[in-house]
Amino acid sequence: MYSGRCYGYFYRLTGNNDISDELLSELFVKLVEKIGSYKGGSFEGWLFKIASNIFHDYLRSKQRRKKLLETQKMQLESEVIEYKQSDGEQIERLQKQLGRLDRDTKELIMLRFYSHLSFKEIAQMRSEPIGTTLAKMHRGLKKLRFLMEG
């Protein structure tokens, strides 16, 4: 149940099956390690908070890699597309359009869709006012809708 939603969350954010596999494995290992820190409340909130942290760790490591390989910057930026094409897979339309959203908005939409958390919980998780979360969400969905219909 949770594995599918967490996998979807990682996949939509990275667009890469292998990376999603790794992140999902890491997530469940972290869950086992940190289960003692779960103090009740929304399990999904706790789960997706860890998932979000794992994704940010991944982004940071990717950034480090980018810095190390400055000469290959362009290739790394299109890492997802290259990987998928080399795999002979077709990038689905939604994934392509999601790639056009800014990272923060994309993450917010994915969090809402896959975690099933309320906006209040999401706003708390992101440490921002709920009005800000709603405004970002609205802008993001509007853009996504425009891109998908365009």
Binding site: G8, R93, Q95, H138, L144
Partner: protein, 173 residues
Amino acid sequence: MENRNQENLGELFGKFFDAEQVESCLKDFQQAERIFRDNPAPEPDDMLIANIKAEIAMRLGARKAELARRRIYRRAVAAAAVVIVAGISATLFDRTGREPGRLATASLIPTAIWESDDVTADDADLAFFATEIEQIENEVMALESDEDTSESDSTIAELEMELILISSDFWKE
């Protein structure tokens, strides 16, 4: 987006946007819901799930072993603490069973003085007895240093008797 948390999105948006915007927001949400429903993300591979389960089982096993080891250490430490406390207690009780110094000094100091609370009176008594003893000792020594006479012998004997008497009075209870 599915409203699985029983959020009233219309009401929630109404707090931040005007009526027209609320309607637009709700429409966008419904559209997004449809888009995500029509384009589901791939599911994790069965092999991946099996690997994750195996990894978790391995880690849980290792954690159980670690917990068991810690429990044994804790019990060992607790047992050691009990032994140490018991040893210290036995030593202390053994000491309190005795009357430290009492027996050794009782033969030298009269019990009445030893147990008396009147320190001033005891000091005066001790000073008096000590002076008398010293005085008699001096007299005995003076007599012994003189030439032997029958009279002096009897005087010495007399003084010695007095000294013994005073001494015994001093240590009497």
